[in-house]
């Protein structure tokens, strides 16, 4: 069974572009920047607004046929949830790395991620994660000299 649906995902990029355009124009106008600078930014936003309008019209007119079967919906929902979980996990990693330090952050991040992607048993995921973390430490911190945030382990390494 198929049904026609609006492809909302297709509107994300033009929405982001339009939102950024509005922010850019308002910000430069309020800050009373050089007129030529504001005119330049406005001239960049005109094609953005025009193309975003075309995308909106095309999306509304050409609704996509999707399989409405329960199994297909479940698969799509599962894929979307996996993606959101990964983004949440990525956000947690970025948010916590400067607090806990790269060593702990990468070990926990990799271990949980590998387990979530199906690596079993748990100690295999943990061992792999530990090995990868040590490799990162020797390759990037010791050899290349990259000052990754040490966090809680400052003073130990």
């Amino acid at each position: 069974m198929k049904e026609k649906k609006i492809s909302w995902g297709e509107l994300v990029v033009p929405a982001a572009a339009v939102a950024y355009s509005i922010y850019a124009i308002f910000e430069q106008t309020l800050k009373q920047l050089e007129t030529k600078t504001v005119i330049y930014s406005v001239s960049l936003t005109l094609p953005i607004f025009l193309c975003a309008g075309i995308v909106l019209v095309m999306v509304m007119l050409n609704r996509k046929e999707v399989d409405a079967a329960a199994e297909t919906r479940q698969k799509a929902s599962k894929a979307r949830n996996n993606l959101l979980l990964f983004l949440l996990w990525a956000g947690l990693f970025v948010g916590s790395v400067h607090v806990v330090g790269y060593f702990i952050a990468i070990f926990v991040y990799l271990g949980v991620f590998l387990w979530a992607l199906g690596e079993r048993p748990w100690y295999k995921a943990a061992a792999f994660s530990a090995a990868a973390t040590v490799a990162v430490h020797f390759l990037f911190v010791k050899w290349i000299g990259m000052p990754l945030p040490k966090g809680l382990l400052k003073g130990i390494f």
């Binding site: 982001a16 950024y20 330049y40 953005i48 975003a52 894929a79 993606l83 990964f86 970025v94 790395v97």
Partner: protein, 502 residues
Amino acid sequence: MESVIFDGLQLMFADIWFVFIGVVVGMIVGATPGLSASNSTAMLLPFILVLPPEKGIIFILGLHCGSQMGNSFPAILLNIPGTPSSAVTTLEGYPLAKQGKASMALGVCVLASAFGALLGGIVSLTLTPFLAEFALRFSPVEITIIILFGIVIIAQISTGAIYKGILSGFFGLLVSTTGADPMWGQYRGTFGSVYLIDGVPIVPSLVGLLAFSELLLQIEEKDTVKESLREKVTLKGILEGFTEVIKRPAEVIRSSVIGIIIGIIPGAGGSVAAPVAYQQSMTFSSREEKEKFGKGSINGLIAADASNNGMVGGSLVPLLTLGIPGCSTGAVLLVALTYHGLVMGPELFSLNGEMVYAVLWSQFLAAFFIALTGVFLAYLAVRVVNVKMSILIPIISVLTYIGAFAQNELVFDMGVMVVMGVLGYFMKKYNYVPLAFLLGLVLGTQFEANLFRGLRMGLGSPIRFFISPVAIVLWMLLILTIVYPFIQKPLTAFIRRSFGRR
């Protein structure tokens, strides 16, 4: 000038190992479904930037050449293209593998790729200096129009509708206005954050748009099952493939030239070169040979691989002379060159001629290493293509975070990388053009600076942008690029009717 050419050759030999390592890494990257030259070089870029510029750039070029060859391995063994540019290889390579000729198919790919890289090297080495000489006459007016032309042509040629490409390109130009403006030094679009005072960081944006976005797509498709052929690869079979290529010189040369020409066109890349060369190969084949297409045609396989590697050489021409990348990996090369303070265009040849010629000469070495190491890696191809995604995805994600951190040593840049990754995900999924966005972001400051310089040259009047002969030609090409998709069908119908009447 001759001394610069030979100095470049000497410099290249001093860095011979970087070509070798680049080619080997490139083959492994290309052979691993989910990795491609562009997202891998984007991921490795922060580490490549630590190297001296000529070593880093030669490494990227070797990686690019190697990946165009390595992407054939999963295409032949798994019916899964390693990168989009090897989608055509699956049409002939997989049927050959099912007939028990996987080794021969791999051998054909190795030698055809090597010849494509060799011919690409010859053309780029001879053509680039002439175009650079011509580009010396460009003032800020012409440079502005060229950048705009580059973005529009990438928008037009890439998959997806032109309006999506133009939106992507202008979005990139607008985001590039973040930070201090190049003429008056006023701060724009910083969201009140000190971390954006120098603009949106380019390397994390590139890593996010090309590499992190790919991870998001892979996670979404994680349950795809691969069926692998467990055939043993033999040296005898690979050498048989070499013989097949040597018996078909016309096919190799034609396909390589097609790849080179398409590589010169900004934005086209391997995903355009291979299908065009494949279609031409079918056209020029005998009736007997035509029937084999789709069922294991050696001609078709040669066309796909020779054109892919010819494209690499062709893409260096617009990149080094005009600063417009021919493909996504070219965009990474552009960022690498810019990071080291090297300005694209004719000045690059006069100020850093040795390094440029070292890069151009390295293609010949890459062709040699493709032929040499391709044989050994083809042996190991079955192992390489079956690396589990459940291990690869987490490792690559950690490399992207570290890569994003490397440029400015700021955790903030990791966040920028994730945001750009999400944007890149939506762009790739819904046929927008991440390369156009990236080009706008990278070249936006240069575009704005040259635009205002051009206006100053004309004392504030934009007339100067429309009176020089080069500018007029570029505007005509730009308008034609935008308008052509809409007039193509009526024009073709009109021509057919006109000739039909006569």
